[in-house]
């Protein structure tokens, strides 16, 4: 089916997954309000939200397989890049919801609001992934961010959660201001907020350079904040540590993914003509982010905080793809986001389980001897850690390898060296957890604080995640082709730098 927006029906079609989730989010919200607190912990609301995500995934698949758009001028892109990213968001949200089921119940959080906020945040992410207009990106970003602000501070009874929510909100609003200012400057320079139009203006040389360059720089800082690049990362450890762990997982995986997707589209498609100007800045940001993220993660004593810093480092790796700005890098970025979502949320699922569906047991010492007390959990966590580190045989390795391929295509040799070396550093802190799990004694009193039984749904998520990670690590071709096919559409029409 070809969308040419000749009828209003086409508008509905183009936004089908977003619409489904918006409506579904409201349904979940109303269902949550209309049920009574004493009726139980509200797990069924989580399942309801999951059903909505499944429906969105199906509509997304329909768009992927049978729909194309006419031209590239619309505010919303109907290309495979967006749709692949949508799947990643849906997957991330789904996994986050599954690992939340028991947590929300145990912490007696407001289930209806919690799950609907996740759905609304996903809608925001989808808009960021699909927007071909800077204003749409800002809209999606705010829609997502407001949901996440609330989720970060969702556990009102926990002081640290509240603090996390507030900090994130203050700094996020601050950074949004820069982003918006950047958009304004670009609009002033190019005369449009439409990415295709901006690209054309840059190509034709009709932009006002004095406005354009600062605008691009401010756009870069706005996105850098959302992808938690150094030095805009200060909020990350505090917020990630304070937020409820499932929300942290969702933030580390999906929020970052959404920001990267928008980042890539704006810079690789819209600002392609200014590559020389922004590539150098992002080069440095990427390098510093990789090094600092990994090095600071070395000295963390809390697993949750360690994962927070490691997510900064992963952001650095992904920035390399944006600096590379070619098709290989774009498909590598999509593949990486998919794999990263799976392994990050998988690792956080273990953290939630070890923490007994609360914020307890986050110190690395609490993982002592875990592998022997809980062999299956230990093995799964070990695989996830290895994949995060990029160990050959896991999907994490393949993902990193394809980022490197993209970087090599753009001849970013030094960046490649930094990526590889900082990866070596990351082995230390990832394997340290595995070392504690298998080679250390259990901490005193661990028997009483032993992780409770892993919830059934979490088990499924863990086993499936690890299975995918191993399978995609050995037979990555199918997923890689899907990612490559999706990334092609990003510049299929826009053309650009080679």
């Amino acid at each position: 089916m070809l969308l040419d927006y000749s009828s209003s029906f086409h508008y509905v079609m183009a936004l089908l997954p977003e619409l489904v989730l918006t409506v579904w989010g409201m349904v979940v919200l109303i269902a949550g309000v209309s049920r009574k607190q004493r009726e139980g912990p509200g797990q069924e609301l989580g399942w309801l939200a999951l059903a909505g995500l499944a429906l969105a995934a199906v509509t997304n698949g329909w768009l992927y397989s049978g729909v194309s758009e006419a031209g590239t001028g619309a505010m919303i892109a109907v290309d495979r890049f967006r749709l692949f990213a949508n799947w990643v968001f849906i997957l991330g949200a789904g996994m986050a919801i599954v690992i939340s089921l028991s947590y929300v119940a145990r912490q007696r959080l407001q289930a209806g609001e919690y799950y609907s906020l996740i759905l609304f945040a996903v809608v925001g992410m989808m808009f960021m992934g699909s927007a071909r207009d800077l204003m749409m990106i800002f809209l999606g970003l705010e829609l997502m961010s407001i949901g996440i602000y609330a989720l970060a501070g969702f556990n009102r009874r926990d002081r640290r959660s509240a603090e996390a929510g507030l900090k994130y909100f203050l700094l996020g609003a601050f950074a949004s201001g820069f982003l918006l200012f950047g958009i304004a400057l670009v609009y002033g320079a190019a005369g449009s907020t439409n990415i295709t139009a901006v690209a054309a203006a840059v190509q034709d040389g009709t932009t006002v350079a004095g406005l354009m360059i600062p605008g691009v720089a401010l756009l870069a800082t706005g996105f850098a904040f959302k992808v938690s690049a150094v030095p805009f990362h200060m909020w990350v450890p505090d917020v990630y540590e304070g937020a409820p762990t499932p929300v942290t997982a969702f933030m580390a995986a999906s929020v970052k993914a959404a920001a990267f997707v928008a980042f890539l589209r704006v810079f690789m498609v819209g600002l392609d003509g200014l590559y020389e100007q922004w590539a150098n800045i992002l080069w440095w940001i990427a390098a510093v982010t990789m090094v600092a993220g990994n090095v600071i993660a070395l000295v963390q004593s809390s697993v949750k905080r360690m994962l927070a810093y490691s997510s900064i480092a992963h952001g650095g790796y992904l920035l390399v793809a944006i600096v590379a700005a070619n098709d290989t890098a774009a498909s590598g970025l999509l593949f990486y986001l998919l794999v990263y979502t799976i392994m990050t949320i998988g690792a956080f699922a273990v953290v939630v389980t070890v923490g007994n569906q609360s914020e307890a047991n986050a110190r690395i010492e609490d993982y002592g001897g875990l592998g022997w007390r809980k062999p299956v959990l230990g093995v799964l966590m070990t695989v996830l850690l290895l994949s995060l580190a990029g160990f050959p045989g896991t999907a994490g390795f393949i993902a990193k390898y394809h980022l490197l391929l993209g970087a090599a295509e753009s001849r970013l040799w030094y960046l490649i060296v930094i990526l590889v070396l900082s990866t070596v550093v990351s082995y230390w802190y990832y394997l340290r957890v595995a070392w504690y799990m298998w080679m250390k004694e259990a901490p005193p009193g661990a028997d009483s604080a032993d992780p409770a039984i892993t919830p059934f749904a979490t088990r499924i998520v863990l086993v499936v995640s690890v299975a995918i990670i191993i399978l995609a690590g050995i037979f990555p071709d199918a997923v890689l082709e899907l990612a490559a096919g999706s990334a092609e559409s990003l510049r299929g029409v826009a053309g650009g730098r080679q």
């Binding site: 720089a217 850098a224 800045i281």
Partner: protein, 722 residues
């Protein structure tokens, strides 16, 4: 049947797809898979029994599976599984053998799946059936089956019984992969696999330090050979772009100039690999130590099959070797020297298995000489007959050790159950074993009409004949080989007779208390012995040479199957034979010292018989004392030979100690100081940096906003001013 590899890539890899029409083998894959199935089943039982024994160990008691009236299932089932899969595999191999047309010209390749398909390299997991691999398969499964049956009696009371059969089955699986693989790569898989099983079985009683060390020695020495094999494969791949046999052998003649550097290098590297696996000089040192394994293992792996893999490999690559006369001369030289050295050592050993081990090394030397001088059929022929009589000798020695072991239990004090000085006069107690071992001794000594006569005579004769070939550049050298081979053959007759006399004849030296417990082996052990004895008598008749057929040796034409093996292997060896004739001219019809084939056959068998008779007199008259009271041989030469020419000591001084010293230096100086120092420094530095950076992480929002603003200013400044 073919998955993962397209028909086109198989065809380009030289798979003889069209040959399938000529003859359809019956389930050839099953021959290989049956032993693997046995491994899996026995392996499960072994794990199960390990669970029991480790549970017992945790509770601090010993686990004796034979304590009850009936051993547990883990120790009963392997009796049927182990030999069972071998019997079935042998039957299947026999069916295929009988069905294989005698005039099958091209090998039949049965591809299963694409094992390694990447870039220019395409290796299929495929079985190649031709006359050579068929003969090898029959030997491996047939002799293997008999040895498995024997093992039931020999290992029946061992706590690790299921593990033993698991390893043994696994060995056969890899051995079949080795001989049936359709290219060097698949062959190498089997090659390494049998090496692994050899290691596992030599160190089968791993709680004994000496035995596990012997396993390691075998493994390490073989690695040296494997380097050669691998390099040869790289060179071949470099030249042909494939590792499959068919295209390489078909294209070798056009690809390499005869006697060129590359082909000589390839074949010499192959020889290095073969020398490692087949225990040839200078890599022969591991095989005598390998006797630490159970005796049936020595019979199967270290006499009949695995150690002959080198001979098989050279015969398989006959085309390549025929193109490199220098390498051929080296192969033959290595062979004959090994044969001679090992034979001298065997003359002064007291351990019955050590004598047989050196005898094996010596006989392998004969086979190498055969394939070296281009008598590939003779080499394979000797391989087959040797498999019969040497397996018989080892199993017979096993029966003796079995009896001595029981006797030693009841004797007074320590008694080395393998030392021949403690034996003597065993004929009275074990008449069947004695009789069959005499048959094997006559066979290995090369006395007509036993199997060894025909095969060994053929090797010696071909050496003589090629020495006289018109344009053989190494004619003189071959003549020397011929003389040394004749000498070695006589030594063989001597040391084997010595073994028999010391073990079975004369006065019994076991000690009174012990000797009353000596006994003949049970039927499950003697029946395989008898079957092998029959084969040792008649096995040589499969290849009676034309020239001998009408003389006394062929009973004036009444022996059947004249030159059968020769004709059978012709499709595999004829290319090499043609190259050889083109290079050397026709082989001569007289030995370097004059005389024809019949004359020398008569001379050698009479000489061997005289030596046997003399040795019976000489050794029989000597008084031996039990090992505990004996100081070993006197005199410089006997001591030199007794100590195996001091090869181990030489290697220890020249290789092992310097390497250890170098390693120790690298460890102390380079690793601990330089590398560890560097690693620790970077680690500490990174942690320091991490700690310093995390100082900024104050938790104060205004601090965070300040850093954020700085960052924005920095980026803005960079964008605008750079």
């Amino acid at each position: 049947m073919v998955t993962g590899v397209s028909a086109a890539s198989l065809a380009s890899a030289g798979m003889a797809v069209q040959a399938a029409a000529e003859w359809q083998p019956i389930l050839p894959g099953l021959i290989v898979l049956l032993p693997l199935l046995g491994f899996v089943l026995n392996g499960i039982l072994a794990l199960q029994s390990a669970r029991h024994s480790s549970a017992a160990l945790r509770e601090g008691r010993d686990w004796d599976p034979f304590a009850g009236a009936r051993p547990p299932a883990t120790h009963r089932l392997p009796t049927w599984i182990g030999p069972g899969v071998m019997g079935l595999a042998f039957a299947l191999a026999l069916l295929n053998f009988l069905g294989m047309p005698a005039d099958l010209h091209d090998p039949v390749v049965v591809p299963y799946w694409g094992w390694i398909v990447t870039g220019d390299l395409s290796i299929a997991a495929a079985i190649q059936l031709d006359q050579l691999s068929m003969v090898m398969t029959l030997v491996v499964t047939g002799v293997g089956f008999l040895i498995h049956v024997f093992s039931v009696g020999y290992m029946g009371r061992d706590p690790g019984y299921p593990r033993y059969f698991a390893y043994l089955n696994l060995f056969v699986f890899f051995m079949l992969v080795l001989v049936l693989g359709s290219g060097f790569a698949t062959m190498f898989v089997g090659w390494e696999g049998v090496g692994l099983c050899s290691y596992l079985l030599i160190g089968y009683w791993f709680s004994d330090r000496e035995k596990s060390d012997a396993g390691k020695k075998a493994f390490i020495v073989n690695r040296i050979g494997d380097v050669g094999f691998l390099l040869a494969m790289f060179l071949l791949f470099n030249g042909f772009g494939t590792l499959d046999f068919i295209p390489i052998f078909a294209g070798a003649e056009n690809h390499f100039a005869a006697g060129g550097v590359t082909i000589t290098a390839i074949t010499l590297l192959l020889l290095l690999g073969a020398a490692g696996k087949s225990a040839q000089l200078p890599l022969h040192i591991w095989l005598p130590d390998a006797m630490a394994g159970p005796t049936p293992v020595s019979a199967l792996i270290h006499a009949a099959t695995m150690v002959t893999a080198g001979v098989y490999m050279v015969a398989r690559s006959s085309v390549l070797f025929a193109l490199a006369p220098t390498s051929q001369a080296v192969v033959a030289g290595v062979g004959v020297l090994t044969a001679l050295v090992a034979a001298t050592i065997a003359m002064q050993q007291y351990d019955i298995k050590k004598v047989l081990a050196y005898s094996t090394v010596s006989q392998l030397g004969f086979m190498f000489m055969a394939v070296g001088v281009g008598a590939f059929t003779a080499g394979i022929f000797h391989l087959v007959t040797h498999a019969f009589f040497k397996a018989l000798l080892f199993l017979g020695a096993g029966a003796v050790i079995h009896a001595m072991h029981d006797a030693a239990h009841h004797g007074d004090g320590h008694l080395d159950e393998q030392d021949m000085r403690n034996m003597g006069g065993l004929r009275k107690y074990m008449p069947v074993t004695c009789a069959v071992m005499w048959i094997a001794t006559l066979a290995i000594a090369g006395i007509w009409p036993f199997a060894g006569f025909f095969s060994k005579d053929e090797i010696i004769w071909y050496t003589a004949a090629w020495a006289g070939a018109e344009s053989n550049p190494f004619g003189q050298l071959y003549a020397v080989y011929w003389g040394l081979a004749l000498l070695t053959a006589l030594l063989t007759a001597f040391y084997m007779t010595r073994l028999m006399v010391m073990t079975f004849h004369g006065a019994n030296r076991t000690g009174k208390a012990a000797s009353s417990h000596l006994h003949e082996a049970p039927n499950v052990m003697t029946v395989p012995l008898i079957v092998l004895a029959v084969l040792s008598v008649f096995g040589g008749w499969i290849n009676v040479p034309n020239a001998l057929s009408d003389s006394f040796a062929g009973l004036w034409g009444s022996l059947p199957m004249t030159e059968w093996l020769h004709h059978w292997l012709e499709p595999v060896t004829h290319t090499a034979a043609e190259i050889q004739v083109a290079g050397f001219g026709e082989a001569a019809h007289a030995a370097p010292a004059g005389g024809g084939e019949v004359a020398w056959a008569l001379i050698s068998t009479v000489a061997a018989a005289v030596i046997v008779a003399a040795a019976v007199m000489f050794v029989g008259r000597r008084k031996y004392v039990p090992a505990a009271q004996d100081a070993g041989p006197r005199g410089a030469l006997p001591r030199f030979v007794y100590n195996k020419w001091y090869f181990d000591e030489l290697y220890d001084a020249v290789i092992v100690r310097p390497v250890l010293a170098l390693s120790r230096w690298c460890w102390k100086a380079i690793d601990t100081v330089v590398i560890d120092g560097f690693v620790n420094f970077t680690g500490n530095f990174a942690r320091l940096a991490g700690w310093a950076t995390s100082l900024f992480q104050t938790g104060q929002v205004n601090m965070y906003a300040f850093v954020l603003t700085l960052g924005v200013l920095f980026v803005l400044g960079a964008a605008v001013f750079l």
